[in-house]
Symmetry: C2
Subunit: 305 residues, 2 copies
């Protein structure tokens, strides 16, 4: 049987690795006009997707490179099957979340900036209470990494079905209780109209005064001005953010100079870490496409993720 | 049966918790002159130990609060049984070591000090190669915490017997090979004449140029000037140090201003974290002492640890 023709567009530094991945999965790479599927190679250029789809009337499946697709939600349609990078980057992002939690609890915000030996401070993550917002791939990986830590883990998710390794799963109506019962709160949600701004002044007020907030979801999950206020007045212990709103965070923003705030520039998954992981997903999905098996990372067009 | 009399000296902020611990273990607290055992409560005052021992001719067992007892090695004698805090603080120190490794690999040295959004950098600990020097309690805890990380773990120790969760155990003669095969090197040794200065220019030269050095042992394990040179010339990727030589590290020392160096002020185990753990050990050892069972953390007077 002839291998299916799959387009890999646009031309960018990721493309060669994704071409290899398509071929490793059993596909043949060709132009959009002859393709029945498209692997989108450039996360930074969603606006160029419509013209490629217009040039490929035979394209029925589109593989997106993103885990979170909110920048592209307006382009989703029902003429195509959409899959995204959901879960692909979960492991490095979960590792980054755990690094941020440890660094925050153990005073790295102050210590890394000190130019002198300073008095002891810091708390153990070991045996502490961790609340994770979101029940997706990052949360699954984070729970796996936390297994030896003897933490009490609470997860808040839309449908509160139980999860392996999680002590308590609650729905959104118990958000504030889940926040209050935590030494560390990790935001690992998809950004949707239901979750935008979920960490606002009320949510921060529900947290313990020593608790740290870790955000590896999207900057828009946190009301930035409310967070600045909470960090200034000591409503919470601190915040460690890999994503911000606005992003990039502007120079001279107050968060840059707070000792109880750590910021990393959206590097939970760097492009170098991510490409290898994305290529593996593309190869697997191409194999599944050819075998007519269920594809990984299907997008629900109604939910937008 | 009358409970044995155990002295808890000197008076300090730790003493009340340790008095409680002795009583929880079944002992009776009294002065040195009537005591058959002594719990030393003040890590910062080894020099005052001889006078207390002189006042307590009936003391036959001494429980020291330290994990590393190099400051006290000259006071050890064969008239007493000595136990120390070996392994007591292993869990928080192992957590701190893992935090330092993650923070180093993931660029926190630069990111924490930045006042602007910077380009991506960082490597995964997931799936990497970790070499640990030392095979004691910290290493055991670190290996336990690393279990989900899918790392290839090598341990170098004096007697290279196999260890659960460790891929390869080697003796000191294979130090440089173990250093060369690692993305992260963690020093978790006791400080003895055999291990002092073990990380010198030759050892640093054996490491990979991207590799990070983490020291949670003692500052004296690392030849500080050699490390400054290695960090300046890029011989290694970076160093994350919870202990330094000299300690405290003086103001204006070059290590304070290097982006590829992270320093925490000996807080792997803070006094607050440690007292609770020490109290648990004291209670258990008092129980064992009364029951004539083997004591935890025995000191080998010849080896000095």
């Amino acid at each position: 049987m002839e291998p299916p023709c799959i387009a890999v567009e646009p031309v960018c530094w990721r493309r060669p690795a994704l071409v290899d991945a398509v071929e490793a999965g059993g596909g043949r790479v060709g132009g959009p006009s002859e393709a029945e599927a498209l692997v989108w190679a450039e996360p930074a250029a969603p606006d160029r997707l419509p013209e490629v789809l217009a040039a490929g009337p035979g394209i029925e499946w589109v593989q997106l490179p993103y885990a979170g697709i909110e920048n592209l939600a307006h382009l989703l349609d029902r003429h195509h099957r959409w899959t995204c990078g959901k879960g692909v980057y979960a492991e490095p992002v979960a590792e980054h979340a755990l690094m941020l939690a440890l660094a925050g609890l153990r005073g790295m915000g102050s210590f890394a900036r000190a130019r002198h030996w300073s008095p002891p401070q810091g708390r153990n993550l070991l045996g502490s209470r961790v609340t994770v917002l979101g029940g997706g791939g990052i949360t699954g990986s984070l729970v796996r990494l936390l297994a030896p830590w003897d933490c009490r883990i609470t997860v808040m998710r839309r449908h509160p079905q139980s999860m392996v390794g999680v002590d308590l799963v609650v729905g959104p109506e118990r958000l504030h209780q889940a926040l209050g019962d935590a030494d560390v709160v990790v935001v690992a949600l998809a950004l949707t109209p239901h979750t935008a701004g979920i960490i606002d002044a009320d949510a921060l007020g529900a947290m313990a005064p020593h608790a740290w907030l870790v955000n590896v979801g999207r900057g828009g999950h946190v009301a930035t001005d409310d967070l600045v206020e909470a960090l200034t007045t000591g409503t919470i212990g601190g915040a460690a953010l890999d994503v911000t709103d606005p992003e990039p965070l502007p120079d001279r923003h107050p968060l840059w100079s707070m000792d109880n705030c750590l910021i990393t520039p959206h590097v939970g998954n760097t492009p170098e870490m991510g490409l290898e992981l994305l290529a593996r997903r593309v190869a697997e999905n191409v194999r599944r496409y050819i075998a007519d098996e269920e594809l990984l990372g299907p997008v629900d067009v109604d939910l937008g993720y």
